[in-house]
């Protein structure tokens, strides 16, 4: 594995404001899937924007994303090519009059020949199941459909890193499921994924969780470790996924369940063994 994100002591402040990030250090290897959690205002979205090359760090001992130095303009431009970023509300991300045109925008900007753009758009339409939407206006789609089109648009050009900033928070259950399934598939295909989320159920799925607190890294490790640390969860304004909360309450009542189950599947299995 090679290092994709290598950040040391990174600081960032929006002009005229207090520091949003005050000394972040983190390392992400190619192919990893990392969830970033933390209270409102802890710096999650700012970090996502920096990783996507959209903001210039105020200071950093090292700020490398896909080998590019984020403290230089060339580095940020390079990071913007390597890293795709998807926001909570994709509305502002659409440029095309219909879905096909929107998907063609990235490749067009890279100066691809028309034939190759056409092929790429077809691939995306197939991969993201957009067949029925190809001539629809992006703004008129449902929330889940919009987010799928935006994700396809971000990935229209080759990417090394995918940064998602609360991509499911405005979606219904079906929309959430669609977007998360697409992200899981992309990760399985080798894409490195950074997922900013307020949903503890989503964080629990990631192999590694980073928790921010007032612009610093307060936790960096496996989800299972974070979710067994009640004191840290309270301090960081986090919580347990609902199945884990049930398990914790059952244990508090003297029934040992073993390893804390983080999802419903795990909880059902653990309970079947101890509850008659």
């Amino acid at each position: 594995m090679s290092t994709l994100i290598d950040i040391r002591e990174l600081r960032f402040a929006y002009p005229g404001n207090q520091a949003a990030l005050s000394g972040i250090s983190l390392n992400v290897q190619r192919g990893e899937s990392v969830a970033i959690v933390g209270a409102n205002g802890s710096g999650k979205s700012t970090l996502a924007r920096i990783l996507g090359g959209l903001e210039r760090p105020t200071a950093a001992a090292r700020a490398l994303v896909c080998g590019a130095d984020l403290t230089t303009l060339e580095g940020r431009l390079s990071a913007r090519r390597e890293a795709g970023i998807l926001f909570q509300d994709p509305e502002n991300q659409f440029v095309g009059a219909d879905v096909e045109e929107d998907l063609a925008f990235g490749p067009e900007n890279l100066g691809w020949p028309a034939e190759r753009i056409r092929e790429r758009v077809e691939e995306l339409i197939c991969a993201f199941r957009l067949e029925d939407l190809r001539e629809r206006e992006p703004h008129m789609l449902s929330g889940g459909q919009k987010q799928r089109v935006a994700l396809a648009g971000v990935l229209a050009v080759p990417r090394t890193l995918l940064v998602l900033d609360e991509p499911t928070s405005m979606l219904d259950a079906a929309g959430k499921h669609d977007v998360l399934a697409a992200v899981r598939r992309l990760h399985a295909e080798g894409l490195t994924v950074i997922l900013v989320t307020q949903e503890m159920e989503e964080a629990a799925i990631a192999a590694r969780v980073i928790a921010l607190d007032a612009g610093t890294v307060a936790f960096d490790g496996p989800a299972a470790t974070l979710f067994t640390d009640q004191e840290a969860l309270a301090r960081l304004s986090l919580g347990l996924p609902l199945p884990a909360a049930v398990a914790a309450e059952v244990e508090r009542r003297g029934r040992r369940l073993g390893t804390l189950p983080l999802d419903l599947e795990g909880l059902v299995t653990a309970l079947r063994e101890v509850v008659s």
Binding site: N40, A174, Q198, L242, P243, R253, R255
Partner: protein, 274 residues
């Protein structure tokens, strides 16, 4: 506070999008009893927000009738009845505008022409109800508050007008887990204090925890209203519209337990299991 009963009869509404008319609600009839708490569920685009806007009087239905506390749209006193319906919009904190918290919360009551003393009392009471003690927060700038506090302040601005029915559109979106717990506790208090509460949300676990009954919209039509009824088709109903079944109900189903009264909270589930 006496809750306001709300009745819809054969409501239909279409938005005008360029040349096209897009049907948002189709023949909706339902009755929300005074003091009831109702989750308004449905896939994105099913008409939830439109229904809230009509109940608040910000949109007029193309067809059908709304009755608030027995007063119909054509009756005298309907405007008065509408003023007792409060609506908390999605991301309501975006509407904060005053230089201090108390000024922001006071805006609504002042618009109603209440005397200063009554405004002051209503502001203090509303801030207390959302857990923002006036002693600590009255003079603070709304933008200096955390995201969760801002959302609660916006809720206080609606509560200060002493609504008899409170409509909330996706109040949990974007909040961190601690802020969601705080807001849940406040909404639980409201649901038991007499106001009629309607909660439109995608978060089925929260809806099941907080609301005694549910209305399900699908494609602008009414798919179901009334009790959750998990023992008699309620699970299948949610699934058939692509909605999530509450985690604790799904847990009970997977454990083969009866679905007549599944637990609404993790604590209640643990008590039943341990």
């Amino acid at each position: 506070m006496t809750g306001l009963g709300m009745v819809c009869e054969h409501l239909s509404f279409a938005y005008q999008a360029g040349e096209q008319r897009v049907l948002a609600l189709r023949d909706i009839s339902l009755s929300l009893a005074p003091g009831s708490s109702t989750a308004l569920l449905g896939p994105a685009g099913s008409g939830k927000s439109t229904l809230l806007l009509i109940l608040r009087g910000l949109l007029d239905p193309d067809e059908g009738e709304v009755r608030l506390g027995g007063v119909g749209m054509a009756d005298r006193g309907y405007a008065e009845a509408q003023r007792s319906v409060g609506l908390v919009f999605q991301q309501a904190e975006r509407q904060l505008f005053a230089a201090t918290c108390e000024e922001d919360v006071a805006f609504g009551p002042r618009q109603l022409g209440w005397p200063p003393q009554q405004v002051q009392e209503a502001v203090a009471e509303a801030m207390e109800r959302v857990g923002l003690s006036p002693a600590l927060f009255a003079r603070r700038h709304p933008y200096a508050l955390s995201g969760g506090e801002q959302r609660r302040l916006a809720l206080a601005g609606v509560l200060a007008m002493r609504p008899r029915a409170l409509l909330l559109d996706e109040p949990f979106v974007g909040l961190d887990p601690a802020a969601r717990r705080d807001l849940s506790a406040i909404l639980r208090g409201l649901a038991t204090s007499g106001e009629t509460v309607v909660l439109a949300t995608h978060e089925v676990d929260r809806a099941w925890e907080l609301c005694e009954q549910r209305v399900v919209l699908a494609g602008g039509g009414l798919a179901a209203s009334g009790a959750w009824d998990f023992a008699a088709g309620g699970v299948e109903l949610l699934e058939s519209h692509g909605l999530q079944v509450p985690t604790l109900v799904e847990l009970w189903r997977r454990l083969g337990r009866p679905l007549a009264h599944p637990p609404r909270t993790a604590t209640a589930a643990a008590e039943a299991l341990a």
